[in-house]
């Protein structure tokens, strides 16, 4: 049997999305089965959604598709299509169709993942006179000495001591934070809010903490106690 083209597969939380090509339904059907048979371990127990494009499929065709997949221990849970007729058929058979599947996926992406943003990694101490400006988050493995500065549109994480100047969220993002093993500077800003400098001559050192926006000011969040301090 001729080797047919494999369809692109994308992973979602709900399952896999297989996007079929154009052309004859039977050919595409056979190709799909061949693809699954060729990688049976990968597809074993999988839930798949199939995008059939503009095809009009009849109920019997969709049932056969579902059954043949079930034979291979693959569950069809959604059929995506631009054809209203096909959508109607799918819904009658209890399958999800375009709108609902995609909606579920987007909402369910955990908020902790910020894929696609960039971060700069600096593996040295920034000495006085050094200035780092970056569009994204900055991570420093080292100290930021007095007279050095880091200016970022994202957050600033320092595995070391911040003694110099740091400005996070420079483009206005108030969700950004500043975090370090030790902070003994008062020259900090997040977005448009600056840390209120104390009148003390000797600046206090805060260990293992984050700085966040709280209302109209910047506050420390103590790591041990997980609460706002001072």
């Amino acid at each position: 049997m001729e080797k047919l083209e494999a369809f692109p597969i994308k992973g979602f939380r709900e399952g896999l999305l297989v996007t079929m090509g154009e052309g004859d339904w039977q050919k595409n059907f056979d190709a799909l089965m061949q693809q699954i048979d060729g990688r049976c371990e990968f597809f074993e127990g999988a839930k798949i959604a199939i995008d059939v494009g503009e095809r009009k499929l009849r109920a019997v065709e969709v049932c056969k598709l579902r059954d043949k997949l079930a034979d291979r221990n693959v569950t069809l849970f959604a059929l995506l299509s631009q054809s209203p007729a096909t959508e109607a058929v799918a819904e009658t058979l209890g399958l999800s169709t375009k709108k609902s599947v995609l909606k579920v996926n987007e909402e369910d992406l955990p908020r902790a993942l910020y894929d696609g943003e960039s971060a700069l990694m600096i593996k040295k101490t920034l000495r006085s006179g050094t200035s780092v400006k970056y569009s994204g988050t900055v991570i420093v493995d080292g100290d930021i000495n007095p007279g050095a500065e880091v200016i970022a549109s994202g957050s600033i994480y320092v595995w070391g001591k911040i003694k110099g100047t740091v400005h996070a969220g420079i483009e206005g993002s108030e969700k950004e934070i500043i975090a370090a093993l030790e902070i003994s500077t008062e020259k900090m800003r997040i977005a448009n809010i600056a840390y209120r400098e104390s009148k003390l001559k000797i600046k206090p050192k805060k260990k293992v903490c984050k700085v966040v926006i709280d209302g109209n000011s910047l506050r420390f969040v103590d790591w041990e106690q997980h609460k706002l301090i001072e």
């Binding site: 101490t125 000495r127 006085s128 006179g129 000495n145 007095p146 007279g147 003694k163």
Partner: protein
């Protein structure tokens, strides 16, 4: 033996570069080394004064570089040691008169003339500083235990790192143990914690230094001066000997941490 070229720099002015250059030169000469010291502070020369040789200047560094005299003609022999020479700076020119490559050529020309070439750098971070460090095999950064000197030293160390030179070594100058005890002065540990480079010596505050500058007799020649002793110790460490720090009432754990830094 071909010379080792050492540049003494600081960033901030007035912390003791010229004093250190003169004293290290004298201390090395005292133990039989051939030394040439060089004043790279063109326009604001004072190494000649500190060594008491200001009346013996005929030619200077810029004369050598611009070819108006031979190298040896500009080398002034010290009053006390036959194998110690000074090449003074020009007083009527400025730092743009010479370039880093001029200095590198001069350094190579001096390699066979001595065991040690010690270059007194000007203050600042511009051309004069870059000229002075260009030929260096090793760089000594001098700082005082105060916030602004340490800030400038940090900048200088960063610039030295950026030029991909060998990491610099630190001399903490004018430490006053009584003031440190009272909390009025940074202690050596605070300075080292920020600058994070190898320490090669600590020189205590000593009134004798001012007197010695005025009479042109470096304190390393004075047996009774504590600063002199510290400079003599540093010169021994440059030679590779391990000499313990002078007693300046350091905390026990500081000395322990340091003992690992003298390798």
């Amino acid at each position: 033996m071909t010379a080792k070229i050492i540049t003494v720099t600081s960033g901030k002015g007035g912390v003791g570069k010229t004093t250190a250059t003169a004293n290290l030169a004298v201390a090395l000469a005292q133990i039989g080394q051939r030394v040439v010291c060089l004043d790279a502070d063109i326009g604001l020369r004072n190494l000649d004064v500190v060594m008491g040789l200001e009346n013996r200047i005929v030619y200077d560094l810029v004369d050598v570089i611009e070819g108006r005299c031979r190298l040896k003609q500009a080398m002034i022999r010290d009053k006390r040691f036959d194998d110690l020479h000074l090449i003074p700076a020009a007083q009527t020119r400025d730092k743009n008169a010479i370039s880093p490559s001029d200095m590198m050529k001069l350094g190579e020309d001096l390699r066979d003339e001595a065991d040690w070439v010690i270059i007194d750098s000007p203050a600042g971070i511009e051309r004069g500083f870059r000229n002075a460090i260009a030929p260096a095999d090793e760089i000594l950064v001098i700082t005082n235990p105060d916030v602004s000197a340490v800030r400038d030293a940090d900048r200088i160390i960063g610039l030295i790192e950026a030029e991909q030179k060998e990491p610099a070594k630190l001399i903490i100058n004018r430490l006053n143990p009584a003031m440190v005890q009272r909390g009025d002065m940074l202690d050596a540990e605070d300075v080292l914690e920020l600058l994070a480079i190898k320490l090669i010596g600590i020189v205590p505050e000593d009134e004798n230094v001012i007197v010695s500058t005025n009479v042109g007799k470096p304190v390393a020649l004075d047996e009774k001066s504590r600063a002199g002793q510290a400079f003599r110790n540093i010169s021994r460490r440059l030679m590779g000997d391990e000499i313990p720090l002078l007693n300046m009432d350091f905390k026990d754990d500081f000395l322990h941490k340091l003992s690992r830094m003298f390798k």
